[in-house]
Subunit: 407 residues, 2 copies
């Protein structure tokens, strides 16, 4: 088989996105055994950094060895027993994924839904909590399919007061905005790798508090072959071994019970990615995302495009823009990638063919990239016959902003 050859890309999608060369460098370090004290030391420090990234003191802050979906499934499959009621407020495609995961766990799903492009008022969700009285509230923080960010500062507390567990899919917003897990009293939060953290997909940082841990440990089941007569067996155990958080707790603590073989090189990448993010600072990093998001929006508006559902609780790491009329959005997108190496994203369901999603996540988010993107994107639109656009105005707006504003 021929040698792999990777073309240069400017990835302006909601992930996976380009990564800092220092992450690649860290990932090229040599292998350590999984119980080598040097490696368990890296594991412990990674836990510390995950805590810092989520602004939490939660002991249980560690990665799942799988993509974001594995992190979501680990949390949901561990907390939701068959028959448990779960409320899922849906604002887009990834809300449906949570429904899917609850259904797989054989929970009883209750949904409330907002039209595409909108979010819930938190009071609406709290009212539904009172009506449904679920065991778990599970929702998406940053819904990349529509580019919305669900306000959630009151939801954790509301859940706690009602004895409900809050589960937050923060895959797309993690380290692109500030998520103060303890202050907002959220019970379990799942972050993402290949988005604003900007490391390769395949490992997923999560955090959960003691209240959540106590609940899932009612289902704890010691592995066959290690189990003793004292270990309860008749509880409704978690149907996954790989994604069983109670087993992972034994692996990610002083017990270091043998479970999977931690993904060595992905751990190196996570360590380095977190290290660089914390060096920048969680707040400063959030401001960087917002700064360039604003810059991009100004440029796209000056170009003559329409921002989708503008200023309506939008994510600061995905810009949704309406596809110009009479243009085949998919053909354009594919040409932009193939001919110029620039990748943007389409959307799902009703929004497919109506909007493009332009990601500004993590390492990618820097002036040169945004300028390059706006230049190529604008010119290629004009070249594809879209009328009434002003590429010069787009670039002017961008430079004006960069010259006059800071963060």
């Amino acid at each position: 088989m021929e040698e792999m050859k990777i073309e240069r890309r400017l990835i302006m999608t909601p992930g996976p996105v380009g990564i800092d060369p220092r992450v690649s460098q860290a990932m090229s370090a040599s292998i350590l055994g999984q119980f080598d004290p040097e490696f368990t030391n890296i594991m412990n420090k990674t836990m510390e950094m995950i805590r810092a990234s989520f602004l939490t003191k939660n002991q249980w802050s560690f990665p799942i060895d799988g993509t974001s979906r594995a992190g979501l499934e680990a949390v949901i499959a561990s907390i939701v027993r068959p028959g448990d009621k779960v409320l899922v407020p849906i604002i887009g495609r990834f809300g449906h994924l949570l429904v899917e995961l609850v259904e797989r766990a054989q929970g009883e799903v209750h949904t409330i839904e907002r039209p595409m492009g909108e979010v819930f008022d938190q009071e609406e969700i709290i009212e539904a909590l009172d009506r449904v009285q679920p065991k778990v509230l599970a929702f998406v923080h940053g819904e990349t399919s529509t580019g919305r960010m669900q306000p959630m500062d009151k939801l954790g507390k509301a859940c706690k007061e009602r004895g409900i567990f809050s589960v937050v899919d923060a895959v797309a917003t993690y380290l692109g905005t500030v998520i103060p897990v303890d202050e907002w009293e959220l019970d379990a939060v799942i972050g993402g790798a290949q988005k604003c953290l900007s490391i390769p997909s395949g490992i997923t940082p999560i955090t959960f508090n003691d209240r959540f841990a106590k609940e899932i440990n009612k289902r704890k089941r010691v592995e066959s072959g290690i189990r003793t007569a004292d270990d309860a067996e008749d509880n409704p155990f978690i149907t996954s071994n790989y994604l069983d958080l109670t087993q992972l707790q034994d692996y990610w603590s002083e017990r270091r019970l043998n479970h999977h073989t931690e993904a060595t090189v992905m751990m190196y990448g996570l360590y380095q990615g977190l290290r660089l993010a914390l060096e920048e600072g969680v707040e400063k990093r959030a401001k960087r995302h917002e700064y360039h998001h604003t810059a991009l929006k100004k440029a796209l508006k000056a170009l003559g495009l329409t921002i989708y559902s503008d200023n309506n609780h939008e994510m600061k790491m995905v810009t949704c823009v309406e596809i110009p009329e009479n243009l085949d959005g998919e053909k354009f997108r594919s040409g932009l990638l193939k001919e110029y190496g620039v990748e943007i994203a389409s959307s799902f369901g009703a929004l497919h063919g109506k909007i493009w999603r332009i990601g500004t996540m993590g390492y990618v988010v820097q002036k040169m990239n945004i300028i390059t993107f706006v230049t190529i994107f604008s010119a290629y639109l004009v070249n594809n016959g879209v009328e009434g656009l002003d590429p010069n105005a787009a670039l002017s707006a961008l430079f004006d902003y960069y010259e006059n504003e800071t963060y």
Copy 2:
């Protein structure tokens, strides 16, 4: 947080083991989007190479984005419905893991067991198949806890004749010995990454045939949010979404249905690891493992140690050696790692403290490493007060072999 600093190691365990620098180099390539044609091209070529590595024509040959255990769970959770009978012949710790996974899938487990250090005669297993009449036979090919390799050339055919599905955990033997999946008529086989393939842990190549695919697709369940009225919903669906092989088929085929975000950089590593392995050749690679395994055994015997269950269907990639009397095996092992950077493994259960397991897997298996290992290991044993050992004889035996034998 401080910069990560990885110490030099010679990892002589049954994994994770050191990797070829060319794998690290490939893994430092820049990120591609998951649906970028350049990336899906890499995915398709990786499937081709997985087929070649398993000597199979199976279309369904792709990796699971998780460690080996995720690959095992994906296969077992997809084929075993609640109540299904599964026969698990146990020859060590990893047989118990298969039991655990079947229990989690709520299958009905039937076991037969051989004493530690032994394997089954294939006829014994076939008799048990006739007695139990299971839906699935699941067993471990290379049982690293005892260093045994279960003969299996007749088992696939025997299962097929009886309408039973054979599932093989070949995590430890994959690409360290030849596994002719089609010739042996095995239905589903799970390989490993961080062992003889010698890439980092975190991605797991599997293969399964059309007969197996047809069976698992009876449980297919289209994801919530994409499902239509035509899609059956009342079948006993797979309780995992992440590890649902029927969904993964849609992702690893022309449909490219959105599922997880493929672990980009792990894919690069898998591509390169397979490429290097196939360049060496599956048979030649197996011979290299056997050659150095033989060399190591000769050296250890000449040193004065006793090989555990010698010549009894032993794996050619793990050498089990008895711990000298009056020596604290764990303290020695820990000192060897801490002071000299050389890592060997202990074992599990009844064998813990009785044997060490010395891995010779993948890239690590080359003359300089074996010589370095024997030198340091011998001297450190003597230095720890073990009497009656002859380090010079060990080295002589090793060099005699290397000078006079080839593969």
